[in-house]
Amino acid sequence: MTVEQKNRTEALLIEVGVEEIPARFLAGAERNLGERLTEALQTLRLLSPDAQPVTTYSTPRRLVARTPQILARQPDETEEVIGPPAKIAFDQTGNPTRAATSFAERNSTRVNKLLKIETPKGLYLGLRRRIRGRAAREVLAEALPQVILGINFPKSMYWTSKAGPRFIRPIRWLLAILAENESARVVPFEIAGIRSGKSTYGHRVAGLTAIPVKSFEEYAAKLREHQVEIDPGKRSEMIRGEVKAVLEGTGLSVFPDEDLHEWVVNSTEWPRSILGAFDRRFLHLPREILVTVMRDHQKYFAVENEAGELQPNFVTVMNLGQDTAGLIREGHERVLRARFADAEFFWEADLRIPLESRQVMLEKVTFQAQMGSYAAKVERMAAIARHICADLESQGALDAEGSSRVLHAVRLCKCDLTTQMVREFTELQGVVGGLYAREQGELEAVADAIYDHYKPANIADECPRNKVGAVVALADRLDSVVAGFTVGLEPTGSSDPFGLRRAGNGIIKIAVESLTTLNLAQVTERAIEAVEAGLARNGGEDLGHHVDSFLRERMEFYLREVAGIRYDTVRAVLSSAVPAGFGIPAVAFARAKALEQVRDTDDFLALAAAAKRTRNILTKSASSDLRDDNAPVHTDLLGEGPERALYSACQGLMNDLGRLNKSGEFGAAFRAMAGIRPQVDLFFDKVLVMAEDDALRENRLRLLAQLNRDVFASLAELSEIAAEARGS
């Protein structure tokens, strides 16, 4: 039992002064400090039940946490110490036994002070002790070093010696005050020789002048006076306002770039914007390259006019009050000129060697140790692409000219990995190849295909803009997946070292959205043959099966997570017999969408129930070796009425389904299926399937087998539909 006392609350403010924390780690570190402090306050029992949460702030040079009220002292606690059972603690005369006296001695008390305590095991001798809560200042002084040093960073460092602490960057000051104004006191502790105090420091420009503070309000206000805004949210607003202000009246706007915005927020204490300009002559370089140079190297926002054309301007955010003399702008303009000169140098040097003749250089670029060089990958991709093209041509979805463009694009698509531009800007791979291809007079379709072939980068990204690009992108990913599985790099659990799930998602997305006639199952089989011809095996035995179920999972993921289709609809479609598994992904997708639409009608739910019943009967009778699922029904053995009616309805429906399936009218097909419900219901109502007569029974099972094969399991496995799944 705890004795609750009226307990005062006090404010707590902590600031960890650090040499510049990398912008990309700042938000995570701030959050982690808040979590760790909250956890510590809970463990130390310093949070009152109505306490407000810990709030945090950060700048590159400080991590800040505060809470307006924590308990000034831990609540007192009562501890129960259980001694010997009461019945052995006293003798018949009621005098304490040795057990009682030695328990009292051990606890520095007397027997007459001991209590009888009722426990689940009976009556015991014991005592209650009051443990006085310790002052918050005292327990925090012990806990804060670990709260701070335990902040999780992906990469940390030593700055004194190996015996010293590790942190993201050296800690240079510590502010830790409890209570406010006249009552404000330092929570005393030390990290790496730095003692906590009650002073903060302003912006770098101000140098190391201590600013003593007594409350959070004073702290935030004084820092603002010293050109530090501790709240990243406010800095974010400042930046948006600043950018707007420098572009006011120019008709220009910056390219929205949230990642860059975030970076700027996390790398400044007092952000102010500058509008700079660069020489128009650099506009002959592709926009992609100019924008990347500005963003990656200089953290500048690119600027466009109302027509969306890139302008010879940029916006940069400085970490300083003002650029009175325009010196900072001049400096940035000078640096950008040199950066663009560099990009121009790469551009011109790279263009001197045509992509075509870079192919041999790919032998020296490793794709992956076991999967060989990019030259080897391109060989495999070409073999796979040939099969994809053949499949598409057989459906009239591609012509011979298209196929030859695909193969040409495949041969060139990885060549930009040998260019200086891609070495400098890795994220421009593909894009740079496409730009060079265009510049070197390749067909537009080929250049676009190269440009786009890393698309879709993720499930939300777009597919390549043309069919040639879609085939190249598909061949690239099929090779990665099949080769990855071949050498044993398949994803397991949460580990996916080679990003194959993402590649698999890309395969499905391209097949569903772009190459809609593609028989992925068949093409994958061919791809496995092509890869196995050139790559040593290091995976499990049943490669085909593994790749197949992997792609099936990706298909399920696409249907469920991207298209939002219910899980049992997905299962029903993917278990259907025609064609097996994911077959033609676009068809599976269309069927799933159609089924999702009709499945909630009463007729359809009844049909799904009948499908389940049929399946059960067939499964139970499967031991009978008389029956062959494909054996024809003997029409002369069919009874008049419901039995014959079901047979002829089934025959008619088969023809309709065949036609509708072929023309891709899946909605109509599923509606037609639902139309057979009366005959099915009547059959199960009036006809005994498991008849005494062997021949009759066998014929009725054959009828059900036919119904199952040609209707219930034809376009989707209806028995998979869960009746209660409605609205889930």
């Binding site: 040499e19 510049e20 990398p22 912008a23 990309r24 590159p60 990469k155 460092m157 030593y158 700055w159 004194t160 010696s161 190996k162 015996a163 960057r169 050296p170 240079r172 020789g193 730095i194 770098r204 420009v205 140098g207 190391l208 790398s267 200089q298 940069t316 400085m318 970490n319 300083l320 650029d323 009175t324 003399a325 010196l327 900072i328 001049e330 400096g331 940035h332 000078r334 640096v335 950008l336 000129r337 040199a338 000169a341 560099d342 140098f345 250089m361 032998e363 020296k364 670029v365 490793t366 140790a369 060089s373 040998t418």
Partner: protein, 267 residues
Amino acid sequence: MCPETFFRVLGPKPWSVAYVQPSRRPADGRYGENPNRLIKHTQLQVILKPPPEDVQEVYLRSLRDIGIDFHSHDIRFEEDNWEAPTLGAWGIGWQVMLDGLEITQFTYFQQSGGVDLDPISVELTYGLERIVAFLQNVNSVYEVKWNNSVKYRDLRHREEFELSLYDFESASPESTRRLFEIYEAEAARLLKDYFAADPARRPTRFPLLKVYEFCLKCSHLFNILDARGAISVTERVALITRIRKIATEVAQVYLEQSTAAAEVKSV
């Protein structure tokens, strides 16, 4: 990496030093065409072992002292961790940006020659051409006035062009590889003799600085091959490992010899 840096950051002895060194990076060659990037630029290298607590302030003061006013210029410390994988050396730090121009690499060394450092040293490498161009307010390092009649272009432009030409075009990957192997073999031969001796009786007379020089030559030749695009990723890893092996053994010899010397002194 200068031997005064590579060795002196090892071991416990405090050491503070500054000197000017050329830094050669074949991949940065621009045939003298780029206003800021040089295949061979000049660094003021500073080692502070151990660094003072206000080391960043000390650094900023050094910039103020040469006339950079932080009320009219934007100075930033941007994450940039330095690494010389061939030498088993790396550290955590920043590139210091002055109005968007990198003027210094500021590094807390964590390892050198594969040895964990204790205490930690700070290394500052000031890019002198860029700083001087900044101070003289000129658009290119080649426009820097060396004195009243000579510009940096007159001194260095031809060299930049020729070094770029050699590293990018004329260098023969075969000869470069052969040179690499010769220097590597020479270093390996000397180190093998040294380590063949019983730990207690290792030679005190040993041309360690010379072995380190061979190691640096290998490292530079590797950079040339890399700039030429003459090595595959797998081979790259293998070559780095070979050079690092020399570097870590050299560091080991240095530490053994300085311990031995300290013992002799205390006797």
